[in-house]
């Protein structure tokens, strides 16, 4: 067993910023990530972010990612890539497994004084006839293929879901050279921001509301060849006789994200079901600390939001850790945390942000 002062699990925007804020104030920080490259979802996000200048609006996710990696290096954050946290056991012990699937794996137990869980989220799937056929995939998988691996996931694509991920990824698939034949949305209204929707509509991609997918058709050899879609009634049930067939080779699902919170639950941190934030998640206070002292949570694993909020929540956790380890005076820490909270509140505006703000406030209240 090895020992560390602070261990951050997950090197997305939340984990990176937590590690940077703690290391900047001289804490000894180990950051682990199961991927071969740190950055989490950021390197897929080739679009410009919203918000005021304090929120780095107009900057692309990929560029924020590069800056964070440089900062982490500058402040001496130790990073273990290709290293997955498989368990979190009593008294803050983390089990990790290292190496790729095609190599011999090794295991290690790390005992940490402080832990940040910043594992992000996983995509929700929806089940329909034929949904397991090759060619049906998460929107995130298609985004990863196009933007990270620079390979087209398909030529003719149908997107299911018009939330921000569905809209943004549709646009990015067009940019990569694919044809997006349409975006389906079961609800009567588009789920994501109007600007993102307008962008793809201008590019000639129709968005069909009150419409769902009922079947993916194809064969054992080639996977998807057709998508059967149908209008839905007020109760979201397909209306018989309204089926339509699209010839597509790929169907991408953007049906929302849910927090990856298994590690927190495994350690016995109290969790609750909060639909506005993606489902089950560990409760936390204003320091992002869970019900188990010394275990913090930040970013999507603390409730699904956006890259900017993940960054700020990570910073909160990082500062709080430095404070509780005695690297920063609590007066100074309070004023820094207040500044961050002001920025976070500024991000939780608008119809989407407000419901998340309300949910977050409730979490913090129940906690007290």
């Amino acid at each position: 067993m090895i020992k560390r002062e602070a261990v951050v699990i997950g090197a997305g925007p939340a984990g990176l910023s937590a590690a940077i804020e703690a290391a900047k104030r001289d804490a000894d920080v180990l950051l682990i990530d199961e991927s071969l490259k740190a950055g989490g979802q950021l390197f897929k996000q080739i679009h410009k972010f919203f918000g005021s200048s304090a929120h780095r609006s107009g900057i692309r996710g990929i560029d924020i990612g590069k800056e964070l990696l440089e900062e982490a290096k500058k402040y001496g954050v130790e990073i273990w890539l290709n290293c997955v946290a498989t368990g979190l056991f009593k008294e803050k012990k983390i089990a990790v497994e290292k190496s790729l699937d095609n190599q011999n794996k090794t295991a290690e137990i790390i005992k940490a004084e402080k832990i940040v869980i910043a594992t992000g989220a996983s995509e929700n799937a929806i089940a329909f006839e034929g949904w397991t056929l090759p060619g049906v995939m998460g929107a995130g998988a298609a985004q990863t293929m196009a933007n990270i691996h620079n390979v087209l996931p398909g030529e003719k694509i149908l997107m299911i879901g018009s939330g921000n991920v569905g809209l943004i990824v549709s646009y990015q698939l067009l940019q990569a050279g694919a044809e997006v034949v349409g975006v389906l949305e079961a609800a009567p209204e588009i789920g994501g921001y109007g600007v993102h929707a307008a962008k793809i509509v201008r590019a000639g991609v129709p968005i069909h509301t009150s419409t769902t997918i009922v079947e993916a058709r194809g064969d054992e050899k080639n996977g998807v060849k057709e998508a059967v879609v149908c209008d839905v009634d007020d109760c979201w049930q397909p209306i018989k006789g309204q089926e339509k067939i699209y010839e597509v080779d790929t169907i991408t699902i953007a049906a929302g994200l849910k927090p990856l919170m298994e590690l927190a639950r495994m350690h016995g941190c109290r969790c609750d079901f909060i639909p506005q934030l993606g489902g089950w998640l560990p409760l936390h206070d204003k320091n992002m600390e869970t019900t188990y002292p010394g275990i913090y949570v930040a970013g999507d694993s603390a409730g699904v939001e956006e890259a900017n909020t993940a960054l700020e929540e990570g910073r909160l956790a990082g500062v709080a850790i430095a404070e509780s380890l005695g690297y920063i005076h609590s007066n100074k820490a309070s004023s820094i945390k207040n500044e961050i909270w002001n920025r976070v509140d500024g991000l939780r505006l608008g119809p989407f942000g407000e419901s998340r703000l309300e949910a977050k406030e409730k979490i913090i209240k129940t906690f007290q």
Binding site: M137, G140, N150, G177
Partner: protein
């Protein structure tokens, strides 16, 4: 056939020059250095990675980030390798996986 994205409006020239040779079910395939096995397969028009044990149904990538195991294949004799998060290596032997796969003898 899905293709590589070599000229991107935001990312610019994304051409990967260095190539790596791998074998997929006995067929030689050219892949790019540093890319994941699943990406190399996609670029070569292959999107079935394995067949399930009970109903023998085909599976291909679903999450693309190592969470779902739908993309598992047998790599250099080792089954259950998630090809979406395992990079190609020169001379790699990749095989479609049937069921849970079987570890081949020459593998340590």
């Amino acid at each position: 056939m899905p293709d590589r994205v070599n000229d991107h409006p935001i990312l610019g020239d994304t051409t990967r020059k260095e190539t790596v040779n791998i074998t997929v079910d006995g067929q030689k395939i050219e892949s790019k250095k540093g890319e994941m096995i699943a990406a190399a397969l996609f670029a070569n028009g292959i999107r079935i990675n394995r067949y399930t044990i009970k109903r023998e149904e085909p599976r291909g990538i679903f999450c693309g980030i190592g969470q779902c195991t739908d993309c598992a294949m047998t790599v250099n004799g080792k089954p259950n390798v998630r090809t979406c998060v395992t990079p190609v290596e020169e001379g790699m032997v990749v095989k479609t996986q049937y069921g849970v796969g079987e570890r081949e003898k020459n593998d340590d």
